[in-house]
Every structure is written in structure tokens, then in C-alpha cells.
């Protein structure tokens, strides 16, 4: 167990140093939510107050969605990086070391969490400038949910990348999963605006419940079943993803 933490730390250190020396990706990853904030947010402020729109200021509805989106998309594409590392021989090299297999993926996920956390803070800062007003503890919970999601998607993405070992098959898979998740989770527009059948469909999407939970949190309604459900789903997803990711690393020798 000690070696697991030690090895994860070593893998994390290497990964974060490489990221800090190649910061372009961090900037590009941040660009998308900032653009949404600047170009899409103003549209929403016009819609607030329409029938079906959840209560509260438009930013209270929109920023939780953006945080969830940042978490999902910040994690979903890291699989490209593991394909690159596998092709360079880094994965094989680390697998011949005595390091714990789980540490090889956990260390990388930790790097993604740190990067994501920085992006999330910058995004929230920008949102405050646009007019978001939430208590700090609510924002902290928002960042926590984003990090839970980011960690899950990053682990799943590494697993998929390493299992497929080809950008050409990995890219369509990510897009196939990411787009419906995005559209059915009410990240951009609240699902309460949708027709009945679409609402039923989106109820099946766990990410919708996370977005809804975070909207409650941002309205400072924290102790209720909706919030518990959203965060519970996020934790369950993380446990599942960590297991899948470790399995894929272990099964590399098959």
C-alpha cells in the first residue's frame, strides 16, 4: 500500500512536470468553457424568467453546467496522451518497473485533477466577473463535483486509449459518448425546457442529475435528496472508473 502511494506520487510528479513544460494544452482546454461563458452566457441571461426556466439568476443555472462540462471534457480526451505515451514506449518501460499497476494510472489521473482544478478556479473567477454570486462553500462543492467527474472520465479515457491503442478508433468513441451526454444533461439549457419524451430520456442520464444537484447547491439548497443523488452518482462513477482503469493496465500483459 505504501508503495502504491509512493509510486502514484512519482508518476504524478513526472506527468505534472511534463504538463507544466507544455502548457499549451491547458490553455486550449480552458478556452472552450471561457468561450461558452462569454458568448453563450449573455444569451441565457435573456431567457431567465421564461416559463420552465429554473429559479434563480441565469449564472446560477449556467455555471454549474459549465463546471460539469469542464469535468467531462477535461477528462475525456486524455486518452490521446496515453496512446502517445504507449507509442513512445513509456508505458512498457514503466510496466517493467516494480511500480504498482494502479499507481501508473492513478498518478496520471492526479495530474489531470490538478490541471482541471486550476482551470475550474479560473473559470469560476471569470464567472464572478460576469455576475455570478454564490457562497464560497457552494463553489467549493461545485469544484469538488467537477474534480470527481474529471477523475472518472480521465481514468475511463486512459482505459479506452490503452485498450484501443489507436487515435483513429479512440476519437470516434469519445465523440460518440461525449455528445449525447452533453446534450442530454441539460448543461447548456435546462432540461425543464424540453418536451416530455426528451425529459424521460435525460432522466436516464446520470450526468443530468449531477448538473441538477449542482444547481441546487448553487442556490444554497444543500441538504436534500437531489444533491445527495447527484454526488452519490459521481462517487459511484469514480469507483467504477478507477476499477476499469486499473483492470485495463493490469491486462496489458494478456
Amino acid at each position: 500500500m505504501m508503495t502504491f502511494f509512493r509510486d502514484s506520487w512519482i508518476v504524478f510528479k513526472r506527468a505534472i512536470i511534463i504538463s507544466s513544460q507544455n502548457p499549451l494544452w491547458i490553455v486550449i482546454g480552458l478556452l472552450q468553457p471561457i468561450l461558452y461563458l462569454a458568448l453563450f452566457g449573455p444569451l441565457l441571461t435573456q431567457m431567465a424568467g421564461m416559463p420552465g426556466f429554473p429559479p434563480g439568476n441565469a449564472w446560477l443555472v449556467f455555471v454549474p453546467g459549465l463546471l460539469v462540462q469542464l469535468g467531462i471534457f477535461g477528462g475525456a480526451f486524455v486518452g490521446f496522451a496515453i496512446i502517445y505515451e504507449w507509442r513512445s514506449g513509456v508505458i512498457d518501460r514503466q510496466m517493467v518497473s516494480p511500480a504498482s499497476r494502479a499507481a501508473l494510472i492513478v498518478g496520471r489521473v492526479m495530474r489531470d485533477i490538478v490541471v482541471l482544478f486550476i482551470q475550474g478556479c479560473l473559470l469560476s473567477g471569470a464567472a464572478f466577473l460576469f455576475g455570478l454570486a454564490v457562497p464560497l462553500h457552494a463553489l467549493a462543492l461545485g469544484l469538488l463535483l467537477m474534480v470527481l467527474l474529471g477523475a472518472s472520465f480521465s481514468a475511463l479515457s486512459y482505459a479506452a486509449g490503452l485498450a484501443l491503442k489507436s487515435e483513429d478508433s479512440f476519437a470516434p468513441i469519445v465523440n460518440t459518448f461525449a455528445l449525447p451526454i452533453l446534450l442530454l444533461s441539460g448543461i447548456l439549457l435546462p432540461m425543464s425546457l424540453a418536451p416530455g419524451w426528451l425529459q424521460v430520456l435525460s432522466d436516464l442520464n446520470p450526468f443530468k442529475h449531477m448538473v441538477t444537484a449542482l444547481r441546487f447547491v448553487f442556490r444554497d439548497e444543500i441538504w436534500n435528496g437531489t444533491v445527495l443523488l447527484g454526488f452519490g452518482l459521481a462517487v459511484a462513477l469514480l469507483v467504477l472508473s478507477a476499477w476499469v482503469g486499473t483492470r485495463v493496465f493490469e491486462r496489458q500483459t494478456k
Binding site: D7, I10, S88, G89, D92
Partner: protein, 328 residues
Amino acid sequence: MAQRKMIETLSQNMIEAHGLKRTFRARGKNIEAVRGIDLTVAAGEIVGFLGPNGAGKTTTLKMLTTLLEPSDGEAIVAGCDLRRDPRGVRRRIGYVAQGGTTAGIARAGLEITSQAELFGLTPKQARQRGEELLSALDLEDVWDRKCESLSGGQRRRLDIVMGLIHRPQLVFLDEPSTGLDPQSRANLWHHIRKLRDQFGTTVFLTTHYMDEADSLSDRLLIIDHGVIVGEGTSAALKARVSGDSLTFTLRDGEQAARAADIANTLAGVANIVTEANVLHYQIPKGAIVLPVYLRQLTQAGIEPIGAEIARPTLDDVFLTLTGRTLRD
């Protein structure tokens, strides 16, 4: 008691493999990459693993280094059972993969340090040993450079530094000298020998280069189509080839074919091979046969452009063992 145990482990073989097999499934077809390999490598030996492309060298190495599970067979590597204690194997071995080991966007020093730390070294020890190894392989001033900015040969030498950083008792080198210029290769050989002489390191390396196999390895294993077809010192293997190796260059393939027919009538001839307009065969007492054979060619109206006689090489050994040349 503890000491006795240590001596026992030391005197044991570094690698002992029995019936190692590996079958890949690709597009519904089974590829038998390795079909039952037995091998023994003693502690402190430098063993060369020789064979043409696709023979199964890398697959064998990946099995012995715990990267691939054998489909069948057993092996004890560095005193640990491959299946029951893969982590014990990993702790004791070093591996330099054929296709490289470093990320282009990472700096050389970072790759070295992070790898060393996974083996339990401190960053300070890693730096010190890393710099020593780098300068031993003529690679000064690369610590802060990104790996992608190194030349092919420099990056290959960095791979070797990474594989040796934790001073393993047993190293696997998969074509370590691909892409190195002659001087760097000679330097690498020197370093590998020094490792063995100073630290008793056991080295198991694959190669395509005859001279490397010849001059670096104490013993050779020859693999073809996933099985070991020959084994022994370079001299012993060559002694099994009967006679000298004769090569003739002719005007075209048709003449080469006719020349081959004539060669076929010579007493004691073996391994006649024609490749385009080049004819090759082996025969005892080649120096006496050569003028006789040239006269026969002239009588048949064939004028060779060139003729060459040579003591048998490892290539001839391979030809004798498998009926194909190693260069295929």
C-alpha cells in the same frame, strides 16, 4: 544460513525457461510467434539472440520481462518465478525495448529520474548515476533537453541509460545498437563488457548485426520461426558449417541459374542459393575448388563479374541451419 542462501542464488542460472510459447490472435487468425523455447543463461554471461525479422525475439524478451504472459511454459528469471512473482522479476531486471522508451515532449533528465525513482532511488542518486551513465555513453549536456530534440542515435543511448539506471543484475537489450554509428556501437560494446566485468551483470541482447553477435556475445542463440535452431559460441557454430563460403556475381539471373546448375555437380557442395544475379554456396577446400569451377563456367560460356571466397560467417551458419539467409 543467510549467506549460504545467497551463494545458492548466485550460483543459479539467471534465466531458465522451459517450453515458452506465445500465440497472438489477430483478425481471427492465430499467430504462433514463439513455439516452445527452452533456454538457460548463466549469471555473468553475455548472450546474443540472433534471428531474422519476425522470428520471435521481441516476443520472447517481452515474456521474460513480464510484459507478456506466456501462452504456455515456465521460466525462472533472476531467481523469481515469472508467473508467481512477476514483481520480484521486475525489481531485478532492466529492459531496453526495441522501439524506444522516452516521451518526446519530456526532458531527458526527467525521464531518467522518474524511472530511477520507481526502482526506489532518490532523485539525488538518480541524478548522480544518470550523469555518470550519460557521460559513459558520450551523452553529456542532454539532461535538460527534450527527448525529441535528440538525434536518433543519442535517443537510443538515452534508452540504454534508462535501462541501466538501477544497476540491474540482468539486462535485456532489444537491438540496442540500431541507429548508432560505428563509433557509438564500439563504445556501447565496451560499456556492456565493462558492466559484466565490474558488476557481474548478465546481458541478454538481440541483434541483427553479425559483428555485434560475433564480438560481444559469449554465446549465441539462433531463433527462427519461433524456435531455437542453434546454440553455442560463435566459433563452435561456425565450425559446424562445412567448408568455405563462395560468392559469385554474374551478369543476370539466367546466368546465375545456369552457374548454380554447374555448382550442383561439385563434390561436397552445400547450401546453394541464388539471389538475383548473385550465386552463393559452401564447399570444403574452397581455395582449390574456385579455379576449377571458374574454368567450368568459362567452358559453358558464362563469364562471372566477380568471385569471392570467405571463411564461414554467422550468416552461413544461419543458412546451414535454416536454409535461408539472415538478411531476409
